[in-house]
């Protein structure tokens, strides 16, 4: 069978990232719907040991580009690795998760291969030689269903949307990709970790977000404490980011991040259209707001109209108690 899909697998600290396991599960299904198999690519330094796990997640062939030049992410080195892996495997559909790396790398590959590019897809199937995919535009205010030949297309898939699968034990067939001749002109010289206090909002399964209802930056700890109790990331509305209460990293909405966590808790957020656009695909939405007529309640599953200064500390304590009880 021919390799139909080439999935780019990301790793950090020697672990395959969860978003890549989701991409591998999606790639496996799309390849099978198209009557072919999935190949995968791992790029890095000393990463060959991940090949078995990648194969177990549905890759019939694992291409490996292992080189000093790839020790840190480099658009140029990685793009050449993908180009060569695509040539070697013959796969026409190139897939990656829409992570920071995916969103930097995938368009560069599309331009190199002169291939159409679909960003951040949230639904997909292969039918009669075409990829039928759904992608959001206008921060999710519109959903576009499009069709493109599977023989040549670059795709990124939104994290937290497609489920990952449990691996099956498997012995990988591998191929080696050479990138030693690439002369990158942009090099990552350092990675600076953000505070480890909370989970990054882009990767969080649960998000607790704060808005103007908090009245001032001095009250944001109420949100952080609930987030900590839930093991959640901290989000924020644009209003409080622009007011300087919290860094832009935390902003959810049209000029911030678009998220789809399992649980989204909006605290003191009225629900401006730009904010709703960034979190409306969350699986369960809880809203806490003083104003019972706030638009946020229209898209919430559970609404608590009331004083968040009374509710949040009690909720944090109750969550701690539940978690503590295991």
């Amino acid at each position: 069978m021919a390799h139909l899909v080439l999935t780019i697998v990301e790793h950090r600290d020697g672990q395959i990232r969860k978003s890549s396991l989701e991409a591998l599960a999606l790639g496996k299904r799309l390849a099978s719907e198209g009557g072919g198999t999935q190949a995968a690519l791992i790029v890095g330094k000393n990463i060959s040991n991940l090949a078995g796990e990648v194969a177990g997640h549905g890759a019939a062939l694992v291409a490996i580009a292992d080189h000093d030049l790839a020790a840190q992410y480099s658009t140029e080195v990685y793009a050449t690795a993908v180009q060569r892996a695509a040539e070697k495997t013959g796969a026409g559909l190139i897939l990656e998760s829409a992570t920071a790396q995916g969103k930097d790398l995938a368009p560069r590959i599309a331009a190199r291969l002169n291939a159409p590019y679909l960003t951040d897809i949230v639904d997909a199937k292969v039918e009669n030689g075409n990829l039928i995919a759904v992608r959001p535009e206008y921060a999710g205010k519109a959903l576009l269903r499009v069709s493109v030949p599977v023989s040549k297309v670059v795709v990124t898939a939104r994290p937290n949307v497609f489920p990952a699968e449990n691996p099956i034990a498997s012995t990988p067939e591998t191929a080696s990709i050479d990138v030693s001749d690439v002369k990158p002109r942009a090099r990552v010289v350092r990675f600076v970790s953000a505070s480890k206090e909370t989970v990054d909002v882009a990767e969080a399964e649960i998000i607790v977000s704060g808005g103007r209802g908090l009245k001032g930056p001095e009250n944001f700890p109420l949100v952080f404490e609930l987030a900590k109790a839930l093991g959640a990331g901290v989000g924020a509305s644009r209003a409080v980011v622009d007011a300087g209460w919290i860094d832009h990293d935390h902003q959810v909405g049209q000029t911030g991040k678009t998220v789809s966590p399992t649980l989204y808790v909006a605290c003191g957020i009225s629900g401006a259209i730009q904010h709703l656009a960034g979190m409306r695909t969350s699986k369960c939405i809880v809203a806490i707001n003083k104003d019972a007529d706030a638009p946020i309640f229209k898209i919430a599953d559970y609404g608590l109209a009331g004083d968040l200064f009374e509710i949040l500390p009690r909720l944090t304590e109750a969550v701690k108690k539940v978690k503590g009880a295991g």
Partner: protein, 258 residues
């Protein structure tokens, strides 16, 4: 140094977006068109670099007649001149032909640096900056929150936002840099700038002059839909203690999240 800034117009972020009558396009009738918010950070950074290192800021855009308004506002803020590809076929083209058009514009101007917004808040593809860099065979840094140009004017230091932190990059110029919110705080135009902008040149070019073929797309649009996710809309009443107790019960036993 010579800096090019790519700037596009998009519907204002508070626009209501709905499908057109036939469900095959987005209905943009009556929306307010503004400069893409991320492009404002790109322009501001270019103006600051010019103030620090001297040089010239050229704005590139693609669009119909209304793009003139965006060009004038960029010139009022301090850009020196603008080049516009006026061709409706390119206004709504795929990112690849757009990147090819911008690359053709860049080749005529040979800037040391091209600044773009990290994404258009209309199509949300985050594609053009990386595609432009590839078409020029230049390095790139996307989602950039900090940028410094080396004293020699031939290198740059950039910080880009990634999950869980920042990547710091050393880049050889020329390069394409895509701006993220937080890179700077854009200025407002003053009256002097607005008056000066009237005299600044806006050059109009055609696709033929740039040696471009009409854009085509292998992507077939099947349907534009509005998101509809059924929500429970259940209000939890009572005093704060009762509300919290009920919410925790629901999240544990019904939603099975806790």
């Amino acid at each position: 140094m010579k800096i090019a800034v790519c700037l596009k117009q998009v519907p204002a972020t508070d626009s209501r977006i709905k499908p057109s009558g036939d469900g095959h396009a987005v209905d943009l009738a009556g929306v307010e068109w503004v400069v893409n918010p991320y492009d404002e950070f790109a322009l501001e950074e270019a103006l600051r670099l010019k103030e620090k290192h001297s040089g010239e800021v050229v704005v590139f855009s693609i669009g119909g007649d209304k793009v003139e308004e965006a060009m004038r506002s960029a010139l009022a803020l301090g850009a020196d001149r603008a080049v516009v590809l006026k061709d409706p076929a390119f206004t709504h083209a795929d990112p690849l032909p757009v990147a090819e058009a911008l690359a053709a514009m860049a080749k005529r101007e040979s800037p040391d640096l091209i600044l773009c917004g990290k994404q258009g808040v209309d199509h949300d593809r985050m594609a053009v900056p990386a595609m432009l860099a590839e078409k020029l065979d230049w390095p790139q840094a996307t989602v950039v929150v900090k940028l410094e140009i080396g004293a020699d004017g031939k290198s740059a230091h950039a910080e880009r936002e990634v999950e869980g932190g920042h990547e710091e990059l050393e880049i050889t110029l020329p390069a394409v840099i895509a701006a993220q919110k937080g890179l700077n705080e854009p200025r407002y135009a003053n009256l002097k700038g607005i008056m000066a902008a009237k005299k600044k040149p806006v050059a109009v070019v055609t696709a033929a002059e740039l040696g471009l073929n009409p854009p085509t797309s292998p992507i077939q649009m099947l349907e534009v839909a509005q998101p509809s996710q059924a929500r429970k809309n259940r209000m939890i009443t009572g005093d704060p203690a009762q509300q919290v107790e009920e919410l925790v019960r629901i999240l544990r036993t019904e939603e099975k999240i806790l």
